[in-house]
């Protein structure tokens, strides 16, 4: 019924969100001043804040959110599991571990690509482990995800434990909470190629995900290469979530929420969920990031904390609904 309405809603929410994100921050600037800075002589304070701080932050929120929404939708389609999500499958924790190792053991300082590359490696390892151990049902997969998350968290605790200085330990913990504060063009450009490559991998699985609605045997009989599909989804998730996490820290629940949010509008066909889920993932994270700036707290409210706080009740609701519908 609302199949034709959602693009309009999405576009309106996107425009509003971007304007809010560009307009809010620790320093209040008159929107007219901000807009005027585009044409006025540079550098000016409004221009620096707009171009160097708020714009990259806004774009990163959109890119990271879209990554989480897209990979959540793809994983749910691949596993035919409504609880699948990079966070719950341990992929985010794996990516965080990889990035922490890169940052705190000095690799990232000498080689800029170390953080995204190790993030991707960690994500890949975690995803492969979860998918191998957790084959055979919704519950098994979630349990495997919990186990892998636990393992990666143990690795992170170890990194904290062995942190070269108390200051580094403090930084690791705050970074793990997930945040887009003061991220710049550098980080955006560093992550972008990996994000795009991951998106392409995930997008090419669309047709296979549809066929998988009929189960693996029928999908295979329809000419789908199941192992290739699995590999593409795995690589796509690892590339995009790994690179995104290396920039923003671990951000949970967007990947779970976005697909469920759009299904009532676009139907349950996995291929039709992918793009809307990416778009709503971007919207959700953008608004969450704006909220961290608007909610007055003495300490900065971390983005990952906010998404977890807002996402957990939804997760509970999903679990109780599954308990009612599944045996």
């Amino acid at each position: 019924m609302s199949a034709r309405l959602w693009p309009l809603i999405a576009a309106a929410l996107l425009v509003l969100g971007v304007l809010l994100s560009l307009g809010t921050g620790a320093v209040w600037l008159d929107p007219a001043l901000l807009a005027g800075s585009v044409v006025s002589p540079k550098p000016s304070l409004p221009w620096l804040i707009l171009w160097e701080l708020r714009l990259p932050r806004t774009l990163l929120a959109l890119l990271v959110g879209a990554t989480l929404g897209l990979s959540g939708a793809a994983l749910q389609g691949l596993l035919r599991n409504p609880l699948a999500e990079p966070g719950l499958l341990g992929v985010s924790a794996g990516a965080a571990l990889g990035a922490v190792v890169a940052i705190y053991f000095g690799l990232a300082a000498s080689f800029a690509l170390a953080a995204p590359l190790l993030g991707i490696t960690g994500a890949l390892a975690a995803a492969a482990l979860t998918l191998t151990v957790g084959r055979g049902g919704t519950l098994t997969m979630i349990l495997a995800g919990a186990a892998v998350s636990g393992l990666m968290a143990a690795g992170l605790s170890l990194a904290l434990n062995l942190a070269p200085s108390p200051w580094a330990a403090y930084e690791i913990t705050t970074w793990l909470l997930g945040s887009l504060t003061d991220r710049g063009w550098d980080q955006l450009l560093l992550a972008l190629p990996f994000l795009l490559a991951g998106w392409v991998c995930l997008a090419t699985t669309a047709r296979a995900l549809d066929a998988l609605t009929l189960g693996e045997a029928q999908a295979e009989s329809l000419g789908i290469d199941i192992s290739r599909t699995r590999l593409l989804a795995l690589a796509g998730t690892a590339l995009s979530v790994g690179a995104a996490t290396a920039v923003s820290g671990a951000i949970g629940f967007i990947g779970l929420l976005a697909p469920h949010l759009v299904r009532p509008f676009v139907g349950h066909q996995p291929s039709r969920v992918l793009l809307p889920s990416a778009i709503f993932g971007a919207i959700l994270l953008l608004y969450a990031d704006v909220a961290t700036r608007l909610i007055p707290t003495t300490q900065e409210l971390k983005l990952g904390v906010l998404t977890s706080l807002a996402g957990t009740p939804f997760f509970f609701w999903l679990v109780t609904r599954l308990r009612r519908t599944a045996p």
């Binding site: 921050g25 304070l45 705190y104 990232a108 953080a115 070269p164 705050t174 710049g184 920039v247 003495t298």
Partner: protein, 254 residues
């Protein structure tokens, strides 16, 4: 025996190293920079209660937040514990230096160090610039030092104006990039020590606008002398004055 980095350094300045049972392992790096050679051969500890029993020192320098187990065992081996609290001003430094000097039986040495510090401060005050330069000690937005911190005192002593003075205490309150840009400091002070471990700021965390916007307007300060109240903290103020004098004239470009 000293169980805290700040008292380690104070102890190294006040007594000959033969009289030191041990200092913490944290002190070796800073001591090598601030007091070259002073810590060579001095045993190190990890501030555990077991080491108190093993070393049986005559006196233990501790911080107010040292482990209670350490205090209990210290009482059992009859070693008095002298608590050194954190210094947040030059007055604190005078008091603490004299306290430790008393405790270790070197009051004259302590007085000399304090007098030296006060001479430096007086000199700086006499030659203060007419228009104070505006600065912020900024290390990534977390824990920007405001009013009532030693860093604030050092900045004032150097004849500069701390723009984050509106923040109370060693503010963990956020002072983000946007506020930094809006405050338009003429220089930002970056805490660093040569023995610093790699951190987020070194790699992906540092925003390009800081490097570009404050090119030539970044002053590295010895973080240890701002964290620990030592008579040498006056030297940090003198270094800062020198660095400020070398700044390019005028304001930031925006």
């Amino acid at each position: 025996m000293s169980t805290n980095l700040c008292s380690d350094l104070l102890l190294l300045m006040l007594v000959p190293k033969e009289r030191i049972a041990s200092i913490t392992h944290l002190a070796t790096g800073p001591a090598a920079v601030l007091l070259p050679g002073a810590a060579d051969g001095v045993p190190t500890n990890r501030a555990t209660a077991e080491e108190v029993v093993a070393q049986v020192p005559d006196l233990i320098l501790a911080s107010p937040w040292s482990a209670t187990a350490l205090r209990r065992l210290a009482a059992q081996v009859n070693a008095p514990v002298v608590e050194i609290d954190a210094a947040n001003s030059f007055a604190d430094i005078r008091r603490i230096t004299r306290e430790v000097g008393q405790a270790v039986g070197e009051p004259a040495r302590a007085e000399a160090l304090v007098a030296q510090m006060d001479r430096t401060l007086a000199e700086l005050a006499a030659t203060a610039p007419e228009r104070p330069i505006e600065v912020v000690a900024w290390n990534g937005g977390d824990a920007v030092p405001g009013q009532g911190t030693l860093t604030h005192a050092i900045i004032e002593a150097a004849g500069a104006r701390n723009l984050s003075a509106r923040l109370p205490g060693a503010a963990a309150e956020s002072f983000g990039l946007e506020e930094l840009l809006a405050a338009r400091p003429q220089a930002i002070l970056r805490g660093a020590d040569r023995f610093d471990a790699p951190s987020l700021r070194d790699s992906s965390g540092e925003h390009a606008v800081v490097q570009a916007g404050f090119a030539g307007r970044q002053i590295i300060y010895p973080a240890t002398l701002h964290a620990c109240g030592l008579p040498q903290s006056a030297e940090a103020a003198r270094q800062l004055r020198t660095a400020l004098e070398r700044l390019p004239p005028g304001d930031v470009r925006w």
